[in-house]
Amino acid sequence: MILQDRMVVQSQQQIAQDIFEMKLTGNLVGEITSPGQFVHIRVADSFEPLLRRPISIAAIDQAAKEMTIIYRAEGRGTKVLSEKRSGDTVDVLGPLGNGFPVDEAMPGETVVLVGGGIGVPPLYELSKQLTAKGVTCIHVLGFQTETVVFYEEQFMQLGETYIATVDSTRGTAGFVTDVLQTVDANFSMYFSCGPMLMLQAVQQMYPNKKGYLSFEERMGCGIGACFACVCQTTENSSKDYVKVCSDGPVFPAGVVAL
């Protein structure tokens, strides 16, 4: 069920340049069903900024009713969010959308998780759940530059982790696809979240693999009512269009027209 929850900030920490990690507690956590779902955050009670901000759920601790989000404070709204301190409350709507299908990967299989920039966060909870059930995860994470790399260690604890930076300041020089060239193609499926161009490249690289892509689109309502976040589908799709917020944000590769 979707809740509008006044969640309590447990911690707020800057973990890379402009990148913040925030832990929040509330009943909403109990409703989360899959990694890759997101929340829609009202950063202030003011009318400016007005709209909620969609942010992925990066980690869940059901026992503590706690979830982690990781976001880049760049625009007006996320900057306000980054000023919250522990003890403050935040108006959170969620969980929203359909996440990655953890059930699709079987114990013993190897899968690849490909993340770019602020597309990396949802892959963390995904990897936690996959590795917990015995799936081997290879993480390929792309960033602009060294200073914005985050969660490298956390991912390493879950499995093989490769970093790529566009300006070659860390890990492989270039894009996630440059790393993927070197990854043994003997995996059963891939999961990816990041900028559109990256999703396109990844999907193109593995035309015959099962894959799940998480999309971003500007949102109004976040629940499927306003038709802001609509994407055109490919001919193979049964629907004429999909809404990223309620049909997605995760879609099987090949559904959304790229």
Binding site: R218, F227, C231
Partner: protein, 304 residues
């Protein structure tokens, strides 16, 4: 006695609060969050004769205390609405106001003729003010003569009362209001969005793929209130007011200016429970204002 009940042509409203067209889809999504029977009415998303996909994305952009949208009237078309959307809404005890849009007069007439026969459609809202479609839409709303003719044409075929939705993008809104009244409109809904634009700071490119979009939200409320105030003085048909309503005090303002009921648009995105919350807060607000029945507030700014 229900202190919040309002009677309007075709509409027995248990309270004067309804979601605005395009901000509530056809109810399904919000219906998962609360009981839609709580609402005074529902203005469903614009229905056109044919299925429309709408404009390319991005379709929305945030602005100071407001937002721009250029959805482009995406909807499943008359048949889709008649077959899938309206029947689903019948389970709720709530009158539906069907927002009708088109490119030619004939489109409006065709949609109105059919949709007004749906058992739960108690009124039509003629969208002559959508700024986000290339043809039709807003052009019908800026010329009084054309607005009047369209109203008459639709009135001639509609089985239910017809409300006309006015555009704020005009020099003289009362002129259009009087024209649609003369054309036989049973009521007026206002305002639709103001045409606006946001540019990407880095590239200079419009953020909205369509270029311009319609401005809504708290930012436009002063313009909406002024226009409702003016139109109330100019016509003798009721007004459903909207534009920036987010809180219970906004409802009081619109009623004071002359609206008989109030629609809530953008605020649904900010607070999905805004409509039921406002409805719950109204009785205490009436007490605070020393008012017995909410209808006493209608037009009170004109009686001071």
């Amino acid at each position: 006695m229900n202190r919040l009940a309002i009677e309007l042509p075709g509409l027995q409203l248990k309270n004067p609060i309804m979601p605005a067209s395009g901000c509530f889809g056809f109810g399904k999504e919000y219906g998962r969050l609360y009981d839609l029977s709580k609402l005074g009415a529902i203005m469903i998303k614009a229905t056109t004769l044919e299925t429309r996909f709408g404009n390319p994305t991005p379709r929305v952009a945030e602005t100071p205390a407001g937002m721009l949208n250029a959805i482009g009237l995406q909807n499943p078309g008359l048949t889709g609405v008649m077959e899938n959307e309206l029947p689903w809404l019948e389970q709720f005890d709530v009158p539906i106001i069907a927002n009708v849009a088109g490119t030619e007069t004939e489109d409006y007439v065709e949609v109105a003729k059919v949709i007004s026969t749906a058992p739960n459609v108690h009124a039509l809202e003629l969208n002559i003010s959508c700024p986000n479609v290339k043809a039709g839409g807003i052009t019908f709303g800026t010329d009084p003569e054309i607005a009047k003719e369209l109203t008459s044409a639709v009135k001639a075929v509609s089985k239910v009362p017809v409300y006309v939705k006015l555009s704020p993008n005009v020099t003289n809104v009362t002129e259009i209001a009087k024209a649609v009244e003369a054309g036989g409109a049973d009521g007026i809904t206002m305002i639709n969005t103001l045409v606006g634009m946001r540019l990407d700071e880095k590239t200079g490119r419009p953020v909205i793929a369509n270029g311009t979009g319609g401005l809504s939200g708290p930012a436009v409320k002063p313009v909406a209130i002024r226009m409702v105030y003016e139109v109330y003085k100019a016509v003798n048909i009721p007004i459903i007011g909207m534009g920036g309503v987010s809180e219970v005090t906004d409802v009081i303002d619109f009623l004071s200016a002359g609206a008989s009921a109030v629609a809530v648009g953008t605020a649904n995105f900010v607070n999905p429970f805004v409509c039921p919350t406002i409805i719950d807060q109204l009785p205490a607000k009436l007490d605070e204002l020393g008012v017995n029945h909410i209808s006493e507030l209608i037009g009170r700014s004109h009686r001071l």
